[in-house]
């Protein structure tokens, strides 16, 4: 009796999850299906599947469109940004956890408080600063204005606090400098939060849209989101090239899904790992 009850429950659970998952995955499937259609098919309601998959759509995106260049831009900017954010974040988190100094708590509160404020409120003055420094429309300007990730400081602080303080003191006794302790002892011990932080920051820089679109003007400096949007305006929404626009979206989305498939555990275990509001 109890067994059948469990069975029903399991089927029920599986059913709900399947429905929600289909709803979640469908836009992706629809994107790929549309990308493989001809111009006529994509406008035709009754053609659910493409009669003959138009792989040439993908070729024309990869060869004839500017999208690969945007991907390269996004990759370059996000790799450099992530590297900087890791260094600045790790050093600050180290100072907050292992140093004694006046205003330590106040500093942390200030940083966390900033996290909640709408970042857009900083855009006008930040824009002016970059323009004064002659860094509008440059990758340098883009990178330099995002060298700090507050989320990252928070995440690293959480995991540094798990490291026993005695360990750092012992290393100090042995004459190790704080730099070496951070990179040779703390960093390997908290490797997984570094990876989670790196991935999260990579994804958000790579996908970032509003700020880059405000400070870049020339199209050869677009990141993927902005590039895709201009591609949409030129070729898609107001034209008839929807299949190509979908192929363009797929070229940008699919590699990220593949990356996620291989790094899933760092996201899933790392993000929820500690919400840390217990402070």
């Amino acid at each position: 009796m109890k067994q059948t009850g469990n069975r029903i429950k399991q089927v029920f659970r599986f059913g709900i999850l399947a429905v929600v998952s289909i709803f979640t995955a469908f836009p992706f499937l629809w994107m790929i299906l549309s990308a493989l259609k001809t111009k006529e098919e994509v406008m035709d309601v009754s053609a659910f599947f493409p009669a003959v998959p138009q792989w040439s759509n993908f070729i024309s995106i990869l060869v004839d469109s500017p999208l690969p260049g945007y991907i390269a831009n996004s990759l370059l900017v996000s790799v450099v940004t992530v590297a900087l954010q890791i260094v600045t974040g790790a050093m600050l988190a180290y100072a907050i956890v292992f140093f004694e100094f006046k205003g330590r708590k106040a500093l942390f509160t200030l940083i966390m408080g900033t996290y909640m404020l709408p970042v857009a409120a900083t855009y006008i003055p930040s824009y002016i600063i970059l323009s004064r420094w002659g860094m509008l429309d440059t990758f340098r300007g883009l990178v330099i204005s995002s060298t700090v990730s507050i989320f990252g400081i928070f995440l690293l602080r959480q995991s540094f606090m798990q490291v026993p303080k005695g360990l750092v003191e012992a290393a100090r006794m042995d004459g190790g400098s704080h730099f070496r302790i951070l990179w040779e002892i703390i960093c390997p011990m908290t490797k997984s939060s570094f990876i989670t932080f790196g991935l999260m920051s990579f994804i958000s820089t790579y996908n970032n849209y509003m700020w880059p679109s405000l400070i870049t003007r020339s199209s050869e400096k677009y990141l993927v989101s902005q590039g895709l949007r201009s591609f949409l305006i030129e070729g898609g929404a107001y034209g008839t090239e929807w299949a190509l626009v979908m192929a363009g979206s797929a070229v940008i989305v699919v590699p990220l899904l593949v990356l996620f498939a291989f790094t899933q555990k760092w996201f899933i275990n790392g993000i929820g790992g500690d919400t840390g509001i217990k402070g």
Partner: protein
Amino acid sequence: MDTVTEKKKSRKKSGVRHALTVLLFISPALIPLFVFWVYPILRSVWLSFTDWDFMTPQYHVIWFKNYSSLFKDSRFYEALWNTLVFTAGTLFPTMIGGLGLALLLRKHFRGNGFFKFVLFSPWITPTVAISIVWTWIFREDGGLANLVLSLFGLPQLKWISSSETAMLSVIIVTVWKSLGYAMIFYLSALEKVPEELYEASALDGAKPWRQFLDMTLPGISPTTFFLMIITMVNSLQAYDQIQILTQGGPSGSTRTLLYLYYQLGFQEFKMGQAASVAVIMIILTVLLSLVQFLASRKWVHY
């Protein structure tokens, strides 16, 4: 005597050294943080008291005129209302849906990992790319969304091209994207609710529903609180999906405060006006967080 002063000296010296080390470790993050966060926010407050138009270097201090003209503008009230509708409309479905999914996925079973993968995947893809796909789905004739409605014999909707359904469409896309994120947080929160609690109360004959109310909900309340703040802050700052799906339209029906800020500042170049919207957004964020924080004392159990 001599040794004492020497000790003092060396202590002073090491104190200076310590201060320098601290400074060395905090400044790489602190300097950019001040230049691109703290200073700009203060500067925005100042700009909101001016009539600066971005084109000319001169500006006049007009104090609260930006605010008073904002408070007379129906666009502002509309945007404020839209912001609240959007925030509430994304917050509750995301939290409740995320918790529901986490409860379903809590026990390990075959396919568990695959479901997590699918449900979280929207979160890692660019909002612009997926909003473009959703634009296509929301197309009036022949769009997928209307196809699904017709399968169930429901009337067709105009989705993003009608001011009545545009907000709903933007909310659907936002919830679709953030459900998995809330789910991940709840999954790890649920893991931390001690198993013994359930076993003990099951022996006492507690019904699952009572267990959920008495143990699970209080156990995960810190995560609920955290997620509420994060989701709210994210919703207040939503831009990408609005910009792609509706550009704040039709007829302002999806123009949130942030979008109004963007239009005033970066399309109309009324920097002073835009800054005053930014300041109001900051105040709104602080107020809403404060309300949640005060309320949390009643229902969050650490």
